[in-house]
């Protein structure tokens, strides 16, 4: 029996002893060996641990047990999510070699359902970036064109899924860090509503914006993984207590009653014409299937980037203050005083983008500037949230591009932080408003690079978000395309 292509099918056949978890795991590890020298998706591969886990799972299946909904599914974890099986570096020299003493809630959930962690994926240092180039351990390449970025910050996770090294990977999304790389790599990425998934064990960047979510090969697998990781956790005060609906068995929607919101002001300047055309085409496909198109307006969306870079950096400046070299992680040699120890560790071990954001955030919170920056940004955030609430009075989902362009060449924007920041212009609002959003493949540009479609739904409406995404996916085959490089492996 050949090994299935999706997590949903793989778990089913491993549970029925049709395929061994060990074989599926080996196949993925082999692909990592074959491709990761070129792509650099992984910062750490725990092959032995994975094979041992797979063997254990096969044994459990043989003994008549059901290891769970993700039985034998090889996965990867973004390296800002704590694991005891591998180091958690956050792509930073500061935490090179650091092994967490506990597993993140989401990792516990996945392993409890029989998933097999193969390793930790590359990212922009502490998730700060949109290209995975800000990793202290070198960039990841886009499997569709290795001269291009995979997007970021969860670039390693998206590229690993696109290159079929794993069936799924966890990413984290603070301003688009799951959706934008998913779009650049032609895979599905879901940013859950704020509070839907526990943040325990996710190394905080912008605590009020961060969410963990799945990056998968199709919508059904995204539903499956979200099902497993969503829900209350008594160790995260911001985690919501409401019950998790059955996503997997409710993936159909009544298209004739579906209202698709289109926001004209987001389809203007700065948007690549091929991306605009792909999004327009996707909208017309919905309409052709029977959905109603409605016009919505998000008047404060134009302030989202500015608002985000105050709130996220303010929180980051505080969240990253703990990395001093005193208690864990790395420190610089030759420090005489405690001040030198702090300064040298932070000065030498943090990257430029991280320092830039810490400085921005520190400034925004400083006495005399707080009202002008942080407080004002918090007010704008409320307006953006209200924009979405109004939009969702008339629309079930809002359709936008994920990013203004397809994947850009490595090195193109490293010296222009503002241009880099604008690659998140469509994704940031969802984090500020706490709503859920997904990126699904909706076509390719003339260079053969994937284009992503963003669907945004009200907070805690993941079920309808996934059902609408599934409806679109069932009419298209973009998600079935694989990067040319896979064929040569």
């Amino acid at each position: 029996m050949s090994i299935p292509e999706t997590a949903y099918e793989l778990a089913a056949v491993v549970r029925e002893q049709g395929v061994r978890a060990v074989d599926a795991t080996r196949q993925c590890l082999d692909r990592i060996v074959a491709l990761d020298g070129e792509l650099h998706c992984f910062l750490h591969v725990c092959g032995e641990y994975a094979i041992a886990r797979a063997t254990e799972i096969d044994r459990a299946v043989d003994a008549g047990h059901d290891p769970g909904r993700l039985t034998g599914v090889p996965i990867a974890i973004k390296d800002n999510i704590c694991t005891t099986s591998s180091p958690t570096t956050c792509g930073s020299k500061m935490l090179a070699g650091f092994v967490s003493g506990y597993d993140a809630h989401v990792v516990e959930c996945l392993e409890r359902e029989g998933a097999i962690v193969l390793g930790k994926t590359n990212l922009d240092e502490f998730s700060m970036g949109s290209s995975a180039e800000n990793s202290a351990f070198g960039p990841t390449c886009n499997p569709w064109d290795t001269s291009r970025v995979p997007g970021g910050s969860s670039g390693g996770s998206a590229a690993a899924v696109a290159a079929r090294m794993v069936y799924a990977a966890l990413g984290s999304d603070t301003g688009g860090s799951i959706r934008q790389p998913a779009a650049y790599c032609g895979v599905v990425g879901v940013k859950p509503s704020y509070g839907r998934v526990s943040r325990r064990g996710l190394v905080s960047y912008g605590s009020s914006l961060d969410q963990v979510g799945p990056i998968t090969r199709n919508v059904r697998d995204a539903a499956l993984f979200l099902q497993v990781i969503a829900g209350n956790d008594d160790r995260d005060a911001t985690c919501d207590r409401r019950a998790v609906p059955d996503y997997i068995n409710n993936l159909t929607c009544e298209v004739s009653s579906l209202r698709i919101g289109v926001c004209q002001e987001l389809l203007g300047d700065g948007l690549d014409s091929q991306v605009r055309e792909a999004v327009r085409h996707a909208t017309s496909q919905f309409v052709d299937a029977g959905a109603t198109m409605v016009s919505v307006t998000l008047p404060h969306a134009k302030y989202a980037t500015a608002c985000y870079y105050l709130i996220a950096t303010a929180e980051a400046s505080s969240n990253l203050a703990r990395f001093t070299g005193v208690h864990y992680g790395n420190r610089s040699a030759n420090s005489e005083t405690i001040e030198e120890l702090h300064e040298n560790a932070r000065g030498e071990l943090l990257g430029n983008e991280v320092k830039r954001r810490i400085l921005l955030g520190t400034y925004a919170l400083s006495s005399g500037y707080y009202d002008q920056y942080y407080r004002k940004a918090a007010k704008v955030r409320t307006l953006i949230t209200q924009d979405f609430e109004k939009a969702f009075e008339n629309a079930d989902v809002v359709i936008t591009p994920v990013a203004p362009t397809t994947a850009f060449p490595i090195g193109d924007k490293v010296n222009d932080p503002l241009a880099m920041y604008l690659s998140d212009v469509y994704t940031i609002s969802a984090n500020l408003a706490g709503v859920c959003a997904a990126s699904i493949p909706c076509g390719f540009d003339t260079s053969g690079l994937p284009i992503g479609l963003q669907l945004t739904a009200p907070a805690y409406c993941e079920q309808s978000l996934l059902a609408i995404a599934q409806t679109y996916e069932s009419h298209t085959d973009h998600h079935l395309q694989t990067p040319p490089l896979i064929g040569t492996s």
Binding site: R199, G201, S204, R235, S318, A321, R322, V326, H327, H342
Partner: protein
């Protein structure tokens, strides 16, 4: 007292020096576990043994509020007559220090759990009122340990321990008032079970903010404010304020430019060995803590019905209870203070009295007999295992003259060791006083016949008569081996002496 300034040190009619003191007090709340994680709060554990990823500030760890700490702080706020915030919030206070693993402290900045209260206490027989500005919850830091040469070690057992920071308005005017305030506040915290409030364990720490207002030729001069950090003794609070009064007045006398606004406020440390405060740092260009709402914790709504319930549950507070014990039970001030200092003891006392025991004798026995038995065993009187009924019976047989004072302690001790009633114990231990007139007369007669000289003096009209009578009374008690009822002995003896005088 150290360095108190005498009023005559300042010359001129109408000239004066007035001390102004506000206090910041940190009270360690008596929860079993820390404020934001499940680690035990212990002061006696090996270094870094009561820690987890949350209080170590490890990457990805998140705080979860200990509800009990919030409840205790609401109760404390109510006892301090504060308004309880309908919504309270958590803020991060940022600074870098090795004992602060997250490099920020979770505290409360602009929405403290309690504000705008007052606290009354007695000083020199007068009731004083100090306004309470606010009381907020925060986590304690760890400890830097410097006892290894060449390196500083950090112990994070204390990190995350819940603290209530109480801030008063600058309403305190003398070192003695500060002393009385701190003492009474400590009693309140213990009384309400909010904190063990042990000074030795550092569970209560005081930071007086002191300056002086000097009036000279009708003009007022205010000196810069000194904050004396981290004092863990009532006496040191008093001494530090007295010293600061003196130091600041001298500083102003030496340089009239030493005034608030012109010269910076400063932090000082109290050196109890030398009886002086030492300069620590100037507050010029005050540190910017960059407070902002902690995004890891949600604001907490405190519904008014919960506040009402806590208010109803609030017990009688020590000051009121002491006053009532004076009036209602006729206790001495010191006996009332001793009994009220422990709420369980006070409750037991009231129960014993409600059973019909005479309050004054009961009070004496609590202070002189039961308290020492309890102290010797390191428990409260209630924990001695003696029921209120048996305690009441002991009072009753004492008042009834069945036993004498020295017998009370012996019987009480036996009551702790067994279940027998005090009456039965008095009997079996042979401590019952004999109230038989015949037996008493026999002892009196025997004593009189054995001490003719004393009898002669007793019946004379000399100065020695009183002493001789006392001597005879002692001899009679001795003959009875303490069993005679002293009152009856007195009556019989008086009768016999009257007969001998031929009256």
């Amino acid at each position: 007292m150290v360095g108190a300034r005498k009023p005559e040190a300042v010359g001129g009619v109408g000239d004066s020096v007035r001390t102004v003191v506000g206090l910041e007090i940190h009270v360690q709340l008596g929860t079993l576990t820390k404020l934001f994680c499940g680690c035990e709060v212990r002061t006696d554990a090996p270094p870094n043994s009561c820690v987890c990823e949350v209080c170590l500030g490890h990457p990805g760890s998140l705080p979860m509020l200990n509800r009990e700490a919030l409840e205790l702080s609401i109760r404390a706020g109510l006892a301090l007559n504060c308004e309880i915030a309908p919504v309270t919030r958590w803020d991060r206070k940022s600074y870098f220090y090795p004992d602060l693993p997250k490099s920020y402290q979770i505290s409360q900045f602009d929405h403290p759990v309690a504000e705008n209260g007052f606290f009354e206490f007695e000083v020199g027989g007068e009731t004083k009122r100090v306004r309470i500005r606010r009381a907020h919850l925060e986590e304690d830091a760890g400890k830097n340990v410097h006892d290894t040469p060449g390196c500083t070690l950090v112990d994070l057992n204390r990190a995350g321990t819940p603290l209530l920071e109480i801030v008063t308005e600058p309403d305190i005017e003398t070192p003695e008032a500060a002393y009385a305030f701190c003492t009474e506040l400590q009693r309140l915290m213990v009384h309400l079970g909010i904190s063990e409030a042990s000074m030795q364990k550092g569970q209560m720490r005081f930071e007086p903010n002191v300056n002086v207002v000097i009036t000279r030729d009708g003009v007022e001069y205010k000196t810069p404010i000194s904050e004396v950090k981290n004092i863990n003794s009532f006496r040191f609070v008093r001494d530090a304020i007295a010293f600061e009064t003196s130091r600041q007045t001298d500083a102003w006398e030496a340089d009239n430019g030493y005034v608030l606004g012109e010269k910076p406020n400063e932090n000082r440390g109290w050196n109890s060995d030398r009886g002086v405060s030492d300069f620590q740092r100037s507050k010029e260009g005050a540190e910017d803590y960059r407070y902002f709402p902690d995004p890891d914790l949600l604001p907490i709504e405190i519904p008014s019905n919960v506040v009402a319930r806590f208010r109803d549950d609030l017990p009688e507070l020590p000051v009121a209870m002491r006053k009532r014990f004076l009036v209602e039970y006729g206790l001495s001030a010191s006996d009332a203070e001793t009994i009220v200092s422990c709420r369980a003891t006070a409750a037991l006392f009231e129960r014993v009295v409600s059973l019909g025991a005479a309050a004054d004798v009961c009070g004496k026995q609590f202070v002189n007999v039961w308290a020492s038995l309890a102290n010797a065993r390191d428990v409260t009187i209630g924990e001695l295992g003696v029921s209120a009924e048996r305690i009441a019976e002991l009072v009753t047989i004492t008042v009834g003259g069945m036993i004498n004072k020295s017998a009370v302690s012996k019987i009480a001790e036996a009551m702790v060791d067994g279940d027998a009633s005090p009456t039965a114990l008095a009997e079996t231990m042979g401590l019952l006083q004999v109230r038989d007139t015949g037996a008493t007369e026999a002892w009196v007669d025997k004593a009189l016949s054995q001490n003719e000289e004393a009898v002669g003096e007793a019946i004379s009209v000399s100065k020695k008569a009183k002493a001789a009578t006392g001597f005879l009374r002692g001899q009679i008690m001795k003959l009875s081996e303490g069993k005679a009822d002293p009152k009856m002995v007195g009556e019989v003896l008086e009768g016999k002496l009257r007969e001998l005088r031929g009256e």
